[in-house]
């Protein structure tokens, strides 16, 4: 429990520093392309990791195939440039239908 509180405080402080340091210190500085490329890659990699880790769960214990059609439908909707929220709603509806089958 204490560990969780410390983690929340740590994350909040990290976030505040991240958001404050650019405007306060770095100004309008442009990052070297390599650094920028690396920073750009992090969210993509971690988002991919986050989706997979949560879909599978530890030791793949939470693997739930009924979510896949909904996620596939959301991807198709995204391809057709449906807004974020619309894609999520489609995923929910398809998942409900799949589970009713």
């Amino acid at each position: 429990m204490t560990g969780l509180v410390v983690a929340v405080v740590a994350l909040a402080v990290i976030n505040i520093v991240y958001k404050g340091i650019g405007p306060a210190v770095l100004g309008d500085r442009v990052f070297p392309p390599r650094i920028q490329e690396i920073i750009d890659a992090l969210p993509a990699a971690l988002l991919a990791g986050l989706v997979v880790v949560n879909l599978l769960g530890e030791r793949w214990g939470a693997a739930d195939a009924t979510m896949l059609p909904g996620l596939a439908a959301a991807s198709v909707a995204w391809w057709f440039r449906v807004a974020q929220l619309g894609c999520v709603v489609i995923a929910v509806v398809v998942t409900i239908l799949v589970r009713l089958l």
Binding site: L4, I21, E37, D40
Partner: protein, 213 residues
Amino acid sequence: MGVGLAVGAFALAVSFGAFAVTNGWPAWLAIVMSAVTFSGSAQFALVTAASGGSIAAGVGAAALINARFIPMGAASARSLHGGPVQRALEGQAVVDGSWVAAQNGDGTLDRAKLFAATLVQWPAWIAGTAIGALFAPSTDFMRQFGLDVIFPAFFLVLLLDALRGRPRLVLIAVVAAVIAAASVLVLPGGVALLICGLAALLAAARTAKRLDR
């Protein structure tokens, strides 16, 4: 524009609140986290990691995922007002949705739009977390109404948005997904996430090096 962002934030926050409580977090702490962090991907990463007992790895993964705020903040600097302290304070308004919405298209940022978009999302984010955490719908309820798919679907769409038109990142994301799938088989979720981030660092450093030439 603001309403759409607020509705999206609210829906994701409800699923976050429920997710945190079903993973053993006290409701109040989930709500506090939303108030002080206000960053969906980092919060989900931390809760995912902590449920496997690897809190430090969770903070590490969350810190990596949020490192994007450094360049985003720096890019906003000249559109913000005042001295360093005021600009640092104003920079706290930078969140993904608002930052994108406030782009003028010429590299500058509409400061008023940035603040307005964040001001509508933040209460929605906290209120949504509170509802999700306090009502803490049962796992069965979440499944029956497909609510458990909200969070993976949301991040999948965010991921697809991040990949649009950037083939280099597609490869990195696919590698990260494979690494995540393999490592979560034997490691706690947070460590798996952290490994994804580190692998991305390596892969990005390599591909970026190629760009330099």
